[in-house]
Amino acid sequence: MSAPSTPAPARVLAATGGGLWRIVLALLLPAVLVTVWWFASADSTDPQVPPLATVLDKFPTVWFAGDDLGSSLFVETVGQSVSRVLIGYAIAMVIGIVLGVLIGTFRPLRDFCEPVLEFFRAIPPPILTPILMLFMGIDHALKISLIVVGALWPILLNTIEGVRGIDPVLKDTARAYGLGPVRRLFSLTLPGASPQIYTGGRQALSIALIMMVIGEMFAAFDGIGSAIAQFQATFSTASMWSAVLILGCIGSVLALIFGAVERVGLTWYRGYLRSQRGGA
C-alpha cells in the first residue's frame, strides 16, 4: 500500500505511536475501573466490602510478609497454582490434539466416538471432583487431572472440527504429490487445523483456571483456591478480595502469553486471509 513510500523514521514513529496508543487504550478501562472501585469503596464500613486501600494493603502484610520472598505466601500459593495450571493445560493440549487429529482424520473412528464424546462433554467437570478423589487422592494428581478433564473438551472438539474442515482438494493434492502420512500431518493437517486448535486452546485456558480454583478449594491445603477458602472461613474479607485480584491478574497474564504465541503461530493464517480478501 502506501507504506513503501513513507520515509522509514515516520514509519517507525507511526508503528511505535500506534503501539503506544494501543497500550494506553488497553490500560484505560482497568484504570477507570480501579479508580471507581477506589473511590466508591473508600468510606465503606461494611466488613464485606472493605475499601480498596485495605485490600491493597494485604499485599505487603499478607502476601509478601516476611523477609524471604521465596517463602512468602504469594510465591508459595501462586507458584503452586500456576504450575498446576500449566501442567494440566499442557497435558490437555497433547491429549486433545492427538485424539482430535485421529478422530478428525478417520471417519469410522469419528462415528464410533461421537456419542461417547457428547456424553462426557455434557458432564460438568466440577462434579467429578468427589469421584476423582476416590481414585486420585487429594493432592496434585487430583488437582491436575481436574484441570485436564475440564480443559480437554474445547481443545479436542475444536481440533476434530479443524481437521475435518480442511479443504478436500488440498488433501487430494497432498496425496497426489505422494506426501507420506507424517509429512501430511505436519505440513497439512496440523497447520490446516491450527486456527481452530488455537480457538479451542483459548477457551480451554479460562476453563483450566476455573478448574484450578475449584480443585484447590476442595480439600484445600495449598494453592490460591485454598487461600481464598481460608480467607473466607476466617472472615478475612480484604485478603479474599486481594486473592481474587491476584487470580484475575494470573488469568490476564496467561491470556497475554497465549495471545503472543497465537500471533506468531498464526502469522501465515492472517496473511492467507488477507490474500484471500485481496484476491476476491
Binding site: 464500613t45 502484610t61 484445600a220 472461613a233 478475612s236
Partner: protein, 332 residues
C-alpha cells in the same frame, strides 16, 4: 447458588412471618422492618418471630427440643430454625439481619469480630465433656497407624472440617505441648463425611471428627488418640448463640426471652434420653447410632474463660493475620 437459595429461604421466611402475623392478630400491623416489637410479645399472646441460623449438628439439639416442646412459644417467641450450609455462612446472614440469631463456634466468632463484624454471644451453645478421652469429638488414625499420640502428628496431614478452626487450634496446641512443631502439621479441610475415605486411602494421616462421625469411624476400626476439645480445658465452651451488638441493644427483651427459653431447653436436654430423642427431630441418624454417640454438655452459664482460651489459641497460631482477638468484646 448459595445466595439465591438463602434469598429463597428468606422470602419463604418472610412470607411465613406475614401469614403468622396476619392470623395471630385481630388488627394486623405489618412492620416494614424485620425488627420485632418485644412489647407485643407474651402479653397479648402475639409471638415475636425470630429466625435462628444453625448447622444441623448434634450441638443444637436443645434448640430443636425447646421449639418442639413449646418452650420458646411460652416465652413469646415464634422460632424459625434455618439450616445453613456452612458455619461461616451464618455470620454474614446474622450481620445483615437476615437471621436474628445464629449458632457458631467461638473461634469463628472471634475471627469474624476481628474482621469487623460487631457481634456478641448471647448464650452458650454447647460444652465439651470433662474427659478428653470421652468427648463428643476426637482425633482418629486408621487401624495399624504408627501414630500413637500428639508428638507423632508433627509433619503429618490431618483432616479438619474447617481451616483455622478450633479443631486446628486444638491439634496445634497438643502437638506443641508434646514437644512437636505445630507449624509442621498440614491441615486438610474436608467435610466430616469424606474423612473415613481419606483416612482409608492414606490421603491424610489423621482426622479430627465430631459425633456422629466419631462413633461411625470407631466402628470402622479407627483408633482415637484422645486429642479433643476437652484437651484444652474440661467443659470448654465450644460454640454459642450470637446476635449483632445492634440487635441485642435494640431488642433486649427478645434477647432475654431467647436466653430464658434456651436455659429451659438446656434443662430439658440434660435428660439424656430426651436429648437423644430430640436428635430425631432434625437428623436422619439411625436409632442405634443416636444411642451410641457421646453428647456434648449443655448448661446455661456462659464460661468467659473458654472464650479467652479460644482467643489466646487462635492468636498464638496466627489465625487472624495478626489482628487482635478480643474475647471481652464478644461477651455480653
Amino acid at each position: 447458588m448459595r445466595h439465591a437459595k438463602s434469598i429463597a429461604v428468606a422470602a419463604a421466611a418472610a412470607a411465613l412471618t406475614f401469614t403468622l402475623t396476619a392470623c395471630g392478630s385481630e388488627a394486623p400491623v405489618l412492620e416494614p422492618s424485620a425488627s420485632p416489637s418485644p412489647e407485643a410479645a407474651g402479653a397479648e399472646g402475639e409471638l415475636t418471630p425470630i429466625t435462628v441460623g444453625v448447622l444441623p449438628i448434634i450441638d443444637v439439639a436443645p434448640l430443636y427440643l425447646g421449639v418442639e416442646e413449646g418452650v420458646f412459644e411460652a416465652h413469646g417467641l415464634e422460632v424459625e430454625i434455618v439450616k445453613a450450609e456452612s458455619g461461616p455462612a451464618i455470620v454474614p446472614a446474622v450481620a445483615s439481619g437476615e437471621y436474628e440469631f445464629g449458632f457458631s463456634n467461638v473461634t469463628s466468632l472471634l475471627l469474624a469480630q476481628a474482621g469487623g463484624e460487631e457481634l456478641q454471644i448471647v448464650a452458650p451453645g454447647n460444652y465439651t465433656t470433662e474427659d478428653p478421652a470421652a468427648d463428643f469429638g476426637n482425633t482418629v488414625v486408621p487401624a495399624g497407624s504408627a501414630i500413637a499420640g500428639a508428638a507423632d502428628l508433627a509433619g503429618k496431614k490431618v483432616a479438619v472440617n474447617a481451616p483455622k478452626s478450633l479443631l486446628q487450634a486444638t491439634i496445634m496446641s497438643e502437638v506443641e505441648k508434646a514437644g512437636g512443631d505445630p507449624e509442621s502439621v498440614t491441615f486438610v479441610p474436608m467435610p466430616f463425611g469424606d474423612m473415613p475415605a481419606a483416612l482409608a486411602g492414606g490421603d491424610v494421616d489423621a482426622a479430627m471428627v465430631m459425633e456422629p462421625f466419631l462413633t461411625l469411624s470407631k466402628e470402622q476400626g479407627a483408633t482415637p488418640l484422645d486429642i479433643s476439645f476437652a484437651s484444652n480445658q474440661a467443659e470448654l465452651l465450644v460454640a454459642g448463640y450470637f446476635a449483632t451488638d445492634e440487635y441485642a441493644a435494640e431488642n433486649p427483651e427478645v434477647v432475654e426471652a431467647f436466653i430464658a427459653a434456651l436455659t429451659e431447653s438446656f434443662e430439658l436436654a440434660s435428660d439424656e434420653a430426651t436429648a437423644r430423642e430430640a436428635l430425631g427431630l432434625y437428623t436422619t441418624l439411625e436409632p442405634a447410632v443416636r444411642d451410641a454417640i457421646t453428647l456434648p454438655v449443655w448448661k446455661a452459664e456462659l464460661d468467659d474463660t473458654s472464650v479467652e482460651l479460644q482467643a489466646e489459641l487462635a492468636q498464638k497460631f496466627n489465625f487472624s493475620e495478626g489482628a487482635e482477638l478480643d474475647a471481652a468484646g464478644l461477651l455480653p
